[in-house]
Amino acid sequence: MSWTYLCDAADVAPNSLKLVDANDIRVVVANYGSGFRAIPPICPHMEEPLDESGVIANCVLTCTKHLWAWNLISLELLGETEKPLKTYELKEEDGKLLAFIAEELTYDFEEEDDMDDDFFSKS
């Protein structure tokens, strides 16, 4: 795939999130006032739907379920947040938001295994 239309920039109010369907891939568009991010629709912590559980203030996205939070400009992990936020490359053309979607970004809750051997110190 390539650049895919998400929605119009005007469709997402500042400091809000909108769930959109981009050719059958669910994407959340976050407007943090000075810019936009296109992200997978769930929190990487416990799969909360970010269009419902997420809030944006001061360019920070916070999932209100357990307060995992990311700076939407730098993508820095804030507080007790343990996993990075994945993002699609995004651009705005003529008021339209487009994301470069080569494949759907997921957090691989099933495949990823934080119980793997190399995860543990061998003391």
Binding site: N15, M46, E47, V55, I56, A57, N58, V60, T62, T64, K65, H66, L67, W68, A69, L78, G79, E80, F109, E110, D113, D114, M115, F119, F120, S121, S123
Partner: protein, 366 residues
């Protein structure tokens, strides 16, 4: 609050007859501890001082996830809400709902320390139910006279098990004292709530209960020197009362501000109002307490019977949001209550107050 390790399942379980040796591999090394017959792996690890990840300790939140690498275990409550996302085929369990049947090796995907940095190491105590009294139509308070004194931080909770009743339930302490030989707890009766029904019945007074704690990180520490914002609904006010008592003892409101917003349905549903009025008077202008009524418009701005307690109409997080505009400087916010109220309060604090997660403390029971 929440709960349930099912007593009927417990009775049928193939329990170990003697202590089991548990080894837990973590991101910060390997630790060993003994697990007593019938004891959950989480409680066993915690009472040995290990900082195993947990929040609710009663099966709902899913934080105490671990993997059984070797050894046999027994899961008490298979349907625990917090277990919904577990990879059971790989041996993943909730440590708060799992007992060792023999020696076992666990993995916990987290940094674990050998003892807590700030809080007390929890322990088992027994206690006697005393001074059960009704505060409103559906709220009851009781005291537990403890078999051994307990130190705790204001805002912490204990898990209580009553004989013959299904489940372990988490309740925040209302009082605050060092080496407490009794703790005061408060319960809001829910439809078909087993513990509430038992409390409202005739056999609870004098009954022997089992208490594990203290637990919880939504705590007050005077040496942080912060202004305090508390938003609570119903029995969620319990921990806030403990925080107010601790703050008063430390003379915290001599130099710091406090704001309490307590949500109930109607004026008749308010409780601890005399205590609030006294705290407000003691704080000499630095403590505001507002009773937010969700289903009634108050006749005036002040409580008719309890001077110093303000009244407002609306959901408590909305009332707090309106009253706190421009006053979020240098504060820590505490939140407790029913999940929708907690969610609303967190949104208010983040979006209107601009608070960072590190300035918000609440026990994650969902």
């Amino acid at each position: 609050m929440t709960s349930l390790a099912r007593a009927d399942d417990l009775a049928a379980a193939p329990l170990a007859r003697e202590n089991c040796a548990v080894s837990v591999e973590t991101k910060s090394g390997v630790f060993g501890f003994d697990c007593a017959p019938g004891e959950t792996l989480l409680y066993a690890g915690l009472r040995h001082g290990l900082t195993l990840p947990h929040e609710c300790a009663t099966g709902t939140c899913g934080t105490c996830r671990g993997r059984v690498m070797t050894g046999e275990v027994d899961v008490a409550w298979e349907e625990a809400p917090g277990a919904a996302r577990l990879k059971r085929d790989k041996g993943d369990v909730l440590l708060c709902q799992t007992r060792a049947v023999g020696d076992c090796v666990l993995r916990v995907p987290a940094e674990v320390a050998a003892k807590p940095a700030r809080h007390q190491i929890p322990a088992y105590r027994t206690g006697l139910m005393e001074n059960i009294r009704r505060l409103t139509g559906d709220v009851i308070s009781f005291e537990v006279a403890l078999s051994a004194p307990m130190d705790f931080d204001a805002g912490q909770f204990v898990v209580v098990e009553a004989p013959g009743l299904e489940g372990a339930r988490a309740y925040s302490m209302v009082n605050f004292t060092r080496s407490a030989d009794r703790i005061e707890l408060v319960v809001k009766r829910k439809p078909s709530g087993g513990f509430g029904d038992w409390l409202f019945g005739a056999t609870a007074e004098g009954a022997k209960v089992k208490v594990f704690g203290p637990l919880g990180r939504a705590t007050f520490h005077a040496d942080e020197h912060k202004n305090l914002l508390m938003i609570a609904g119903g029995s969620g006010i319990a921990g806030m009362m403990s925080i107010l008592a601790s703050a008063a003892e430390a003379d915290h409101f001599r130099t710091r501000k406090g704001y309490v917003f307590f949500g109930v349905r109607t004026l008749a549903d308010g409780f601890y109002l005399q205590e609030f009025a006294q705290r407000v008077a003691e704080a000499q202008g630095n403590l505001e307490v507002t009773l937010a009524l969700s289903h009634e418009d108050p006749a005036g701005a002040d409580h008719p019977d309890h001077p110093g307690v303000k009244l407002a109409s609306g959901m408590v997080h909305e009332v707090a949001g309106r009253a706190m505009a421009g006053r979020y400087d240098d504060l820590i916010a505490y939140v407790a209550g029913p999940p929708p109220m907690v969610d609303g309060a967190l949104r208010t604090l983040i979006t209107q107050g601009g608070l960072s997660p590190s300035a918000i403390r609440y026990d994650k029971f969902g």
